[in-house]
Amino acid sequence: MSEQADDLELGEPVAELKDLALSVNDRFGRRVRGRIERRALAGEFLGLAWTAPVMMLLELLRAPFELFQGKRRE
């Protein structure tokens, strides 16, 4: 029997499962927003944790070149 034919024979109460829903209070949305904000913030910190050492390394690499260029100008 095909899946579509199967579904045609469902009838109540099985067919009602498709529309099953529960009422949700206002706190639900606020909590989801809070979780999203916390996770976004954590993501930003994580991003910083990666970029900060790279920036420091670039600065360290640039320092000898700048020092060398400064001496040449003198």
Binding site: L17, K18, L20, A21, L22, V24, R33
Partner: protein, 195 residues
């Protein structure tokens, strides 16, 4: 009621993508529209109201961060269902060790896995959906979960077989049995309610 509540899912998804770091109203409108069914399905799969709310919140958080990857080939609701199914089944795997206990062949095994009907609890539920959930709560995981994946989430038999790590014929058999079991329990609950 927000004016965005009249927009289609597709329009809200596009707006939510554009406004990802600014206006959160499009995503909140999507959430308001679908939160009832996500919470209900999580509730049926986990049998716990507290877990269901927590899981449903996490489903929406995942949906929010995954919106960029949503290609729009399926409907938003279908995509959300996939996130929900994966998340709920992972939760069950973490908490119960395995999603499905092996089902014996027809006959004794089928009888043995029946939990005692909690028709009394079903009778106390006033609302239709609460009544359905009470009936579903009385069913075993082996039948309830495939039933919800098929008739609640609309997953194909193949997808359910993949999700649950079962053979196709086993899935078809379980869903057939689950529907019979659900109808029987529901009829019993209705009878007791009428009595």
């Amino acid at each position: 009621m927000d004016s965005l509540d009249y927009e289609s899912d597709d329009q809200l998804v596009n707006l939510a993508r554009i406004e990802r770091n600014g206006d959160s109203r499009p995503f909140e409108a999507l959430m308001r529209r679908h939160q009832g069914f996500v919470v209900a399905n999580c509730r049926v799969i986990t049998r716990s109201a507290a877990d269901a709310e927590d899981l449903a919140q996490e489903v929406f958080v995942k949906a929010f961060f995954g919106l960029r990857r949503f290609e729009g080939r399926a409907q938003f609701r279908t995509w959300l269902k996939r996130i929900k199914v994966n998340h709920c089944l992972n939760h069950l795997r973490r908490t119960q060790g395995a999603v499905m206990i092996e089902l014996e062949d027809a006959g004794e095994g089928h009888k043995a896995m029946h939990t005692p009907p909690s028709a009394h609890a079903a009778l106390q539920a006033a609302a239709d959906h609460d009544r359905l959930i009470s009936v579903l709560d009385a069913m075993s995981d082996t039948l309830r979960i495939p039933l919800m994946l098929r008739d609640g989430d609309g997953l194909s038999y193949e997808d359910i077989a993949n999700e649950l790590g079962l053979g196709l014929s086993a899935v078809k058999m379980r869903i057939k049995r689950a529907r019979e079991d659900f109808r029987m329990r529901f009829a019993e609950a209705e009878q007791e309610r009428g009595a």
